[in-house]
């Protein structure tokens, strides 16, 4: 069975990637997950410098989902390279570094520093975090902004460049196309949906940041639809995500058009989810006599189910 896929010149052994922001810097999970067995590990978003993030409360549960407003707390790119990357390399993780910036120059600087570091497999550009005011999503919500960040980073690195797209726009597919035109090797989608929850007794927002990003199974059908829309307009690989909880969910995203997937929120619920997903995918390939998993990508059959009987 061949579960592998390519993103630019990078080969991933399988399509299961730990989602950025949901897996620490990877090393936190080394006791419970064989990091080398994952297709990739997308580490927590990194700016040039350390950040404290937002005050708690930072998460709140919602029906089949959760809101978060962590605020990209992080150790900065230099401490990451010195303190976390060596262990990730030693454990043979395929490291995808999620990079952030408040300015175009910061994205470029962080990308340049990581390109010189040993053991980084790809760069995911966070242009979609809904929880910080400056930079980031302002690039991700504008087509010229998306094009500018991707092409600027493209110029300074030979690593695969994967912009992570926000769903908080009218037409995600046009952003995928802008990213492809700017030289992206793949796109990942979706980041979280901007959302809000209020305590009716205190009349206060449940998050200190007032608003946060919705993730989890609650968003899955919207994310699947967005992957499907992007698949129709770009040729580059798509990494799909949004509430994946079972191997059927992985396959749903792939059939909609994703070449790989990321799992985030459900990894909180079950940190041992990865072997279950892998077993389920292999079982599906057996049942459907598939030798190459990539053969299911974008195979959703949208032909009419039956002959139309309603005459217009």
């Amino acid at each position: 069975m061949d579960l592998s896929l390519r993103i630019g010149h990078l080969t991933l052994a399988n399509p299961l990637i730990a989602a950025s922001g949901c897996f620490g810097y990877g090393v936190e999970y080394s006791d419970v997950v064989d990091l080398a067995s994952l297709g990739g590990v997308a580490v927590k978003g990194l700016f040039l410098n350390e950040r404290e993030g937002h005050a708690p409360p930072r998460i709140v549960e919602t029906p089949s989902g959760m809101l978060n407003a962590i605020g990209l707390q992080g150790i900065g790119v230099h401490r990451f390279i010195a303190e976390r990357l060596p262990e990730l390399r030693q454990r043979h993780a395929t490291v995808i570094v999620n990079i952030c910036g408040t300015t175009l120059d910061e994205y470029v600087e962080v990308a340049r520093i990581l390109s010189d570091a040993e053991g980084v497999a790809a760069l995911e550009l966070n242009i979609s975090c809904p929880n910080i005011k400056e930079g980031g999503i302002t690039f991700g919500c504008s087509l010229p902004g998306t094009h500018a960040v991707v092409s600027a980073v493209r110029k300074v690195t030979t690593l695969p460049v994967i912009p992570k797209l926000t769903p908080n726009v009218t037409d995600v597919a046009s952003f995928a196309r802008a990213a492809e035109e700017a030289g992206a090797d793949a796109v990942s989608l979706v980041n979280t949906f901007l959302a809000m929850a209020i305590d009716v007794h205190t009349r206060r927002p449940k998050l200190s940041n007032i608003v946060g990003g919705l993730s989890g199974p609650a968003i899955r059908p919207i994310a699947v639809r967005m992957v499907y829309e992007c698949r129709r307009v770009v040729k580059i690989p798509i990494i799909g995500m949004g509430g994946i909880a079972t191997s059927d969910d992985v396959l749903e995203f792939m059939i909609a058009g994703a070449n790989a997937v990321q799992v985030g929120t459900m990894n909180f619920v079950d940190p041992f989810i990865w072997t279950k997903l892998m077993d389920g995918i292999r079982g599906y390939m057996d049942t459907h006599s598939l030798t190459r998993l990539q053969d299911v990508v974008g195979t959703v059959d949208t032909t009419a189910r039956q002959t139309a009987w309603i005459s217009s």
Binding site: G21, G53, P56
Partner: protein, 276 residues
């Protein structure tokens, strides 16, 4: 190394004041648990509630030969997850991930250990009391609740030789008022030449007050913090508290799950800790 156990409920003992004690078959967790560690429990089989909940390991259950067979938790109904746990019946199975977190470090003689518990904050102290008894450390439990009916499981501590000091806010048992009143009196009485370490778990204002008392009286004080947790493994960064580094550096948002739940009280920036 934490494991995820599909654990059967053995007993669910309901107690007054919306408390209950649930015993689970979970030998793999019990075998490696250390005092004050916690577990993450999925309170339903489905997606509602979605996330696991953190619980201190209350008791380590053993068979007749002393071999660990499971754990219990001390539950108080406060929301959807804890209410489901209040109703759970023997035979039901839940996913339990653990043991997790930085444990208490039990002091040894000649130092004494004082445990200060408020309400459901009693939860991490049975395992600590056992570890202290094993080291022959003299220990005392200061335990406060709103009223007499909400003081639970004192016999577990008595059987380990722990001296008991009680307080209730309505005065129905023990000292009238907060537990910090008898604690402060005991701190005043204790000669400086007799070392004692404080271990605290309870509502945030109580822990803050105990931290201040321990500082005033020059005694070491560890607190066990509870924050809203997403994963319990350090992945989500939701359970942070502002804490100074161990060498006294400036405060940073520090994860309760893997850098705690046990912290030196003097590291915590109490005025910025969300109370609940």
């Amino acid at each position: 190394m934490p494991v995820d156990v599909d654990a059967a409920v053995v007993t669910n003992r309901r107690l007054p004041g919306d408390y209950n004690v649930i015993a689970f078959d979970a030998a793999a967790i019990a075998g490696s648990a250390r005092p004050g560690q916690f577990v993450m429990i999925k309170t339903s089989r489905g997606l509602d509630p979605l996330l696991r909940r953190p619980f201190s390991i209350f008791e380590l259950l053993r068979d007749r030969n002393g071999v660990p067979t499971g754990i219990s938790i001390f539950n108080k109904q406060v929301g959807a997850g804890t209410s489901m746990l209040a109703e759970i019946e023997p035979g039901a199975r839940l996913q339990i991930l653990g043991p997790l977190g930085r444990p208490f470090e039990p002091v040894g003689p000649p130092a004494a250990a004082w445990m200060i518990a408020g309400g459901v904050g009693l939860a991490p102290f049975v395992t600590l009391a056992e570890a202290l008894a094993a080291r022959r450390t003299r220990s005392r439990l200061f335990y406060g609740a709103r009223r007499a009916e909400e003081l639970h499981c004192i016999e577990l501590f008595e059987s380990l030789g722990v001296e008991i000091v009680l307080a209730t806010e309505d005065g129905t048992r023990g000292a009238h008022g907060r537990i910090t009143v008898p604690l402060e009196a005991a701190l005043r009485e204790r000669p400086l030449g007799e070392p004692v370490k404080l271990y605290v778990c309870g509502p945030t204002p109580m822990m803050r007050a105990c931290g201040a008392l321990s500082y005033t009286h020059g005694r070491a004080c560890d607190v066990s913090l509870e924050q809203v947790m997403g994963c319990g493994l350090g992945g989500c960064y939701s359970c942070v508290v502002p804490a100074r580094s161990r060498d006294g550096g400036p405060p940073h948002h520090t994860r309760t799950c893997i850098d705690g739940p046990v912290f030196d009280a003097q590291r915590v920036v109490w005025e910025s800790v969300s109370a609940h």
